[in-house]
């Protein structure tokens, strides 16, 4: 029997605000444990939260980018549970009146090229919790100079109060592949909006999944399980595949799926149930009495305070939703369509170039300085991506600015460099960050196009290899390549190949 899986995702995205959602502490990643904290995010007695308006703006951007509806009134709620990295004993989140409802993200199924909409249930704002560092963890032993004992747990509150949006989908995905396609698309949108770094390994993008399976053509839904702890895109696909197979196995052997929460173990590549004690929570949600209703009026938003640092105390009224909408950047789909039209490049190129906003920016900047858009596309998709991959860096860390790539390509056109030489120079540029001119000068890498010079080299090659000349003339034209190779050897590869070809042919046939 053939099965399909029914998958819905809950995605948490950390927002790239300067400060936390309810206090003025910095949110930068990798600081010393507990160095980015204050009485508010530590939950000291008597403190109160004040909502960061930038976090609201960022969340609204996401809502608008996926075509959701911003609720005119939304409220914050307390999610109550005890855990050492949750200093207040509750998380400020949103519950029955979230920031937004609806919206969707379109994915393309690679095999059929069919487009499919993944619908969203809601997007809401909440605060992140801290991190518990157990003595077995590497992250634990790496941290600061605290005395450590085996079995001891330390708590790092730096992440407490980092703003998150939770994006909840409908169970629209029918395979683990569709789930990762969706997740990639979501990451792409978040990056385009510049509101989340999208880094799953650092935890700035996190994903839980609800999974059930059923025989294809069956309409009734199966029992679902919740899969957590998938910390990379690869892990999502592997874990969901694993869970799908596990469920099918149980059904085929006549068993029954138990509704439970499972954890993916990336090292062992298997799924294990969470201890039941950990999941039997009654969160006792109720409206957060320390915050007021978040209201979107036609002209203003109320319910937002300033940020708890002197210079940022601003007016509590900010721009309307419409104004935020106008500030949205061009989104991936629109940019792809424009690239096809404006730069006359194939859809494949446009798709690849627009995966990442920074890459698309790189391409456009390069084309501005070197209008052969297809040649640039080939270079970016080939050489640039290869260098990035080899060096394991992002476009923004890449040492060759788009203008420099353009000038390199111009030198190929003018015949100063051969295509082969240009590629070597490019690798050097990526390594050193020097300009192409500088590298060419330093290495004496100027292509020889002087016919006189090439002619004399060719004549000496023919003189030194009379036997081969005889072979060629008797019809064995394959040895032509031998002559080219010899010429290139003598010129250290600097001879212009087309000039070499032309003169060789003339000399051999005379």
């Amino acid at each position: 029997m053939k099965y399909e899986s029914i998958i819905g995702l809950e995605v948490h995205a950390q927002l790239l605000t300067d400060s936390k959602i309810f206090c003025g502490c910095s949110v930068s990643y990798g600081a010393d444990p507990n160095s980015q904290t204050c009485p508010v995010c530590l939950g000291l007695p008597g403190v109160l939260p004040v909502l960061n308006k930038k976090a609201v703006e960022y969340a609204v951007k996401m809502v608008l980018a996926v075509g959701g509806t911003v609720a005119p009134h939304s409220i914050f709620a307390r999610k109550n549970y005890f855990y050492p990295d949750l200093p207040k004993g509750y998380q400020i989140s949103q519950y029955d009146q979230p920031l937004s409802t609806g919206g969707s993200v379109e994915i393309e199924i690679p095999e059929s090229k069919a487009k499919k909409k993944i619908h969203l249930t809601r997007i809401h704002l909440e605060e992140d919790a801290g991190k518990s560092l157990h003595s077995e963890d590497n992250s634990y032993t790496n941290t600061s100079s605290n005395v450590k004992q085996k079995g001891e747990t330390l708590v790092d509150m730096n992440r407490c109060g980092v703003p998150l949006i939770e994006i909840v989908t409908q169970p629209d995905m029918r395979s683990p592949k569709e789930a990762t396609l969706f997740l990639n698309k979501l990451k792409q949108i978040l990056e385009y909006l510049e509101i989340c770094s999208g880094n799953m390994e650092e935890g700035s993008l996190r994903c839980d999944a609800n999974v059930s399976v059923r025989p294809i053509a069956q309409t009734k839904l199966g029992t679902k399980t919740e899969v957590k702890n998938m910390n990379s895109f690869k892990a999502v696909e592997k874990a969901l595949n694993f869970e799908m197979e596990r469920q099918i196995g149980i059904i085929e052997s006549g068993g029954r799926i138990i509704q439970e929460t499972l954890l993916w173990d990336a090292e062992k590549e298997l799924i294990a149930p969470m201890r039941s004690k950990e999941e039997s929570h009654d969160y006792r949600y109720f409206p957060e009495p320390d915050l007021v209703v978040l209201k979107f009026h036609p002209q203003t938003i109320s319910g937002i305070g300033g940020i708890r640092s002197e210079e940022k105390f601003g007016t509590p009224t900010i721009t309307i939703v419409e104004k935020i909408k106008q500030s949205l950047p061009e989104l991936p789909e629109a940019r792809k369509t424009r690239f096809i039209k404006q730069y006359q490049i194939p859809e494949y190129d446009a798709e690849l170039l627009t995966t990442e906003k920074k890459l698309a920016d790189y391409y456009e900047e390069c084309v501005k300085n070197y209008p052969n858009s297809k040649a640039v596309s080939n270079w970016v998709m080939g050489e640039v991506l290869r260098e990035l991959k080899e060096r394991k860096i992002s476009v923004s860390e890449f040492k060759v600015p788009p203008k420099e790539l353009a000038s390199l390509l111009k030198q190929v056109d003018s015949g100063t460099l051969s295509g082969k030489m240009a590629k070597d120079v490019f690798v050097e540029m990526a390594e050193t960050g020097l300009s192409s001119e500088k590298i060419i000068q330093e290495k004496g890498l100027v292509q020889v196009t002087d016919t006189k010079e090439i002619e004399s080299v060719i004549e000496s090659v023919l003189r030194e290899n009379p036997g081969e000349v005889e072979k060629y003339r008797s019809g064995k034209e394959r040895v032509f390549g031998f002559f080219v190779g010899e010429v290139m050897k003598k010129t250290k590869g600097k001879a212009n190949p087309s000039v070499v070809n032309q003169i060789l042919k003339e000399k051999l046939s005379s």
């Binding site: 009485p39 000291l44 008597g46 006792r284 109720f286």
Partner: protein, 479 residues
């Protein structure tokens, strides 16, 4: 003239004119406290050093003829659930008995800005939960009118300090009557301001949607003076109203007004002690004599106020008190090897019975399956109670009620019977649920010589009305 008997506004004048040195005055208050605190148990912590230092600064300002703050030189006691940087803030609880906040509450900043002298932190029912101060981990405060009686609560320590002249003024907090009821039982003036007029930043939360800091003072003028200083918008408190502070003392210059008075019939009859009812009725007679129009009205939802209050307040408390888990600060139980054990032991040993009772009650009313029946319904009734008042305030300026159905009761008399104790708040919780301002002023004494309080309520932000009416009654009740 004894310094201890002076009102704040009188003492400030004296210091300003140089008739007494501030340091000298503060030192005499500290001496008094050291003498009497043993029997009264009003103060938990004295801030002697910083108080004397602040007093020196005031003296210097006086000698250099610099401008003095509105509270210059006035010794003020602060309830021990309001954070004072570097000074223990215990909330009357074992679980916080070693907690020293690294920051000042907004009200503390405001007091300091006006040259007030903070002399110490006062006793309270643990986490402000109680009506007698008997729930303090540090033992009950005693009523200065009769040491065998409770001072009321939860701001009992603050009320005792003012009533016994150990402090000229005090700050308390009022969640369901915790300023007004002890003010009534100790014979001082206590104001519960409109919700959102005084910042809660730095007030250790009991029930966030009900808590409000307010003044306990010897007279209405001091109440207006202190409220004027502590009120005003605070960007650190999202529920703080966008109002600017105001010189309420000045508004008392034109206090002679005629008020339309509503007397709810639900507040009289069975349940009130005879002496209390008689004193309040006498005050009502006085109002008629002042040509105020007095009418009987009905507040039909008042009978549900206590039940509603104990649902909403405990629900919020159960969440607000979750942070005391022994992990980050405060008391931590020793010898717990497992996390759950750490939580259970710390909270089991750290909290007193009343606090545990309310945490359990609040946890229950928010639980899956019970939320709608309790918390959901409580919220609905709360809006009905508010509507009751809205309707009355369409036609009336003020509502008059007793503050407490009884005078001060005996220590230990009600502590084993929580439900009877909860009824001490029957006339005070409504103002918190509706978010409206209410004051308690002394209106005579019982035959046994114990003070009786009269409560005046008004619509939101009508503190000025309250002060004027209270001031006029205060003038006329004296004679």
């Amino acid at each position: 003239m004894k310094l201890a008997e002076l009102k704040g506004w009188e003492l400030r004048e004296l210091i300003k004119k140089g008739e007494t040195g501030c340091k000298e005055a503060v030192a005499s208050f500290l001496d008094e406290i050291k003498k009497k605190n043993k029997s009264l148990n009003s103060f938990l912590t004295l801030t002697e050093e910083s108080a004397l230092k602040s007093a020196e600064i005031v003296d210097k300002k006086v000698s250099q003829k610099q401008k003095l703050g509105a509270l210059a030189g006035i010794p003020i006691a602060v309830k021990d659930n309001i954070c004072l940087r570097g000074v223990k803030t215990t909330c009357g609880s074992h679980i916080l008995d070693n907690f020293v906040p690294p920051y000042n509450a907004t009200v503390v900043e405001k007091l300091k800005k006006e040259d007030a002298i903070i002399i110490g932190k006062t006793n309270l029912d643990e986490f402000a939960m109680g009506s007698s101060t008997e729930n303090s981990y540090f033992g009950p405060s005693k009523n200065p009118h009769d040491l065998k009686k409770v001072p009321g609560g939860s701001s009992g320590g603050s009320a005792v300090a003012v009533a016994s002249g150990l402090a000229t003024m005090a700050l308390g907090s009022d969640t369901g009557g915790s300023i007004r009821q002890p003010a009534a039982l100790c014979g001082v003036v206590g104001l519960k301001p409109t919700y959102g007029t005084v910042s809660r930043y730095g007030l250790v939360a009991f029930a966030s949607s009900l808590d409000q800091i307010g003044p306990l003072t010897k007279d209405v003028k001091d109440s207006a003076l202190l409220f004027g200083v502590i009120s005003g918008h605070d960007p650190n408190d999202s529920t703080s109203l966008k109002i600017s502070s105001k010189d309420y003392l000045k508004t008392l210059d034109s206090y002679k007004t005629k008020f339309k008075v509503a007397v709810p019939k639900e507040a009289f009859g069975a349940g009130n002690e005879k002496d209390v009812e008689e004193a309040v009725k006498k005050a009502i007679k006085l109002m008629e004599k002042l040509n105020w129009s007095v009418s009987e009205v009905s507040l039909p939802y008042m009978e549900y106020a206590i039940a509603t209050y104990y649902i909403i307040a405990t629900a919020e408390a159960s969440s607000n008190l979750a942070r005391y888990d022994g992990v980050k600060y405060g008391y931590r139980s020793k010898d717990s090897s497992q996390l759950l054990e750490l939580y259970q032991n710390t909270r089991g040993e750290g909290f007193g019975n009343e606090v545990k009772r309310r945490i359990m009650l609040g946890t229950y009313v928010l639980s899956a399956g019970y939320y709608e029946a309790y918390y959901g319904k409580g919220q609905k009734v709360r809006t009905f109670i508010k509507q009751d008042f809205d309707n009355v305030f369409k036609d009336f300026d003020i509502v008059i009620m007793p503050t407490s159905p009884t005078v001060a009761f005996g220590l230990g008399e009600k502590i084993e019977d929580p439900l009877t104790m909860y009824l001490s708040d029957i006339f005070t919780v409504s103002a918190n649920l509706a978010g409206i301002p209410a004051i308690s002023i002394p209106c005579g004494k019982s035959k046994a010589g114990l003070p009786i309080g009269l409560q005046i309520l008004a619509k939101p932000l009508a503190e000025e009305t309250i002060f004027k009416a209270a001031y006029m009654l205060e003038q006329n009740l004296k004679t």
